[in-house]
Symmetry: C2
């Protein structure tokens, strides 16, 4: 397969962790090309004792830049990544951090798939059934009903590329009944019901996200972003309380804490966003994945692995086919 283009300058700890992750991926046989200032990346590679192909990009977007700065910094690493995919020299883009800039760069350089009004960020959350895909994750805060239908179609294509043959779709609302919801969900419900190629379950509620009632949950990006950050924050708080409760207890409790630590640690890892690697940006003419800005090398590796798997399953072709079927 063609290499994955990694924006080596993206995220809070670049280029250290991006080079680390790329080297780990390389050792697993996944071809990666680093994109950024050659001198900087060569120095980091030497420091880590590795060797990888580099594509030169003299500039890059920092976390302090605006999303629109991708139009000013034309030779920024994120733009060069997109260009590589567009020219067929890379199979996917992986970028840690700056969601807005990556979204803007993808729109600007790759453009939208036919029929897509707005690309969407897909979030993956752990659930009792495995995982829940939530769209939109924050790319579109105010939405039209038709956009939510498009998000559902694109998320279905993504879930299928992940091996779920007929993913079910729930509309995030405040009650199961069709007549419960806000203006947006009430208008979206009949559209989802009528859309071809979707396995529409009906309304789901906040509690269904972790229960895993449906494979996919659709909402506007404001609510989706609140859900993402709330669920991460709540897990962090609960595990913090558990640590405190176990370490501050009686001698017997502290002994018990030692014994259960490995089991709790593997559970904590299951809830760790880094495990999920990266969010796909769906609806643009190329596979684009955005990871946490605070990612470490392991999270960069997860992001690259995720991108590779989904690319091999023909993600963009599946999204195109879904959108074409929706257009009728």
């Amino acid at each position: 397969m063609r290499p994955i283009a990694l924006d080596a300058m993206g995220g809070d700890h670049a280029p250290k962790v991006t080079v680390e992750g790329a080297l780990l991926a390389h050792r697993q046989g996944i071809p990666v090309v680093l994109v950024g200032p050659t001198a900087v990346l060569q120095q980091e590679l030497r420091k880590q004792g590795g060797d990888l192909p580099i594509v030169e990009a003299p500039e890059y977007i920092t976390m302090h830049d605006q999303a629109t700065d991708v139009r000013k910094k034309r030779r920024a690493s994120i733009n060069v990544c997109m260009e590589l995919v567009k020219q067929g020299e890379a199979s996917a883009v992986v970028a840690m951090g700056h969601t807005g800039a990556t979204l803007a760069s993808a729109l600007f350089n790759l453009g939208r798939i036919r029929g897509v009004d707005r690309p969407t960020l897909l979030i993956e959350l752990p659930s009792e059934k495995g995982r829940t895909f939530l769209t939109d994750g924050g790319a579109n805060v105010d939405c039209k009903p038709e956009w939510l239908v498009q998000f559902a179609v694109m998320a279905t294509a993504y879930a299928q590329a992940q091996g779920i043959a007929e993913p079910s779709v729930g509309l995030l609302s405040i009650g199961e009944e069709e007549h419960k919801g806000n203006e947006l969900t009430l208008q979206t419900f009949p559209l989802l019901k009528a859309a071809p190629g979707l396995r529409f379950y009906g309304n789901v509620e906040g509690r269904d996200i972790f229960k895993g009632t449906t494979d996919i949950v659709v909402s506007d990006g404001y609510t989706g972003n609140v859900v993402l950050k709330l669920s991460e924050g709540e897990a962090r708080t609960i595990f913090k309380w558990i640590r405190e409760a176990l370490s501050g207890g009686s001698l017997l409790t502290r002994l018990g804490a030692l014994l259960v630590r490995p089991a709790l640690q593997s559970l904590r890892a299951k809830m760790d966003p880094a495990e999920y690697g990266a969010m796909p940006l769906l609806g643009v003419e190329g596979p684009v994945f955005i990871g946490h800005g605070s990612a470490d090398g392991r999270a960069v590796l997860s992001a690259i692995r995720k991108a590779r798997g989904v690319v091999e399953a023909g993600l963009v072709e599946r999204v195109r086919a879904g959108m074409a079927r929706l257009a009728g």
Copy 2:
């Protein structure tokens, strides 16, 4: 103090658990009057070996009724409860379950406090700092910016009645910066900044709810309801996974599990919605509290205790004063 009017027929397990909760409250010296069909309630009291005053209400709202049915069933127990508060014969209404009907009955019988466009449901969530008050919890799915300001004013009055002298208010959004958010939050931000008597912090994100960054978090009722149900569902799932991880592990893990069980159970209780008793409905001309429909006797007691405490702190007077100051 005047007794609290308990809708003895509300919730999934009435009148058993409502009578249980009322008897527990009575034993703690809190005066309660049961409202519902006298014969049914007398029988339940006899069964439980207790005695409490009853106010007759021949009808009641079931979980299958529509909210608007409170206008048809004029002598329904929830309407009689509101009537008792209006006549000054009871100090507050406590109802388990049917949120929509309780809201409709309160509006119909008590009316709104001057200046309040829409009453709001206030949710209480555990946080690292103690607790977070979230408004609106689902009474108003589509909101106008001015309503969110009113919710913030009413929640501030409630938090003050709970003993927090100068509660801070955060606007739930997708980024800390003032320019981040959806149309509703962008329009609400300057209004909250300018509102008298509010300690406005600025935008908060989903992760801040459990972190406890602000005492109060304001959002529309669609998002608030999703937050409520997601946070309950996530806690349930995490504790389920913990049980599974500890009981399914090695012999040493299972031994450790036995030792840490008490510490984890008290943590679980902290996350239990029943601990929080009931949500206040703010903005109507009387103190109204709505508990979980699935409440047990202990949760009914919590609801009654919460109502008592807030009534004694002059909740309705505080909300009136806050709204008057907002009107200028």
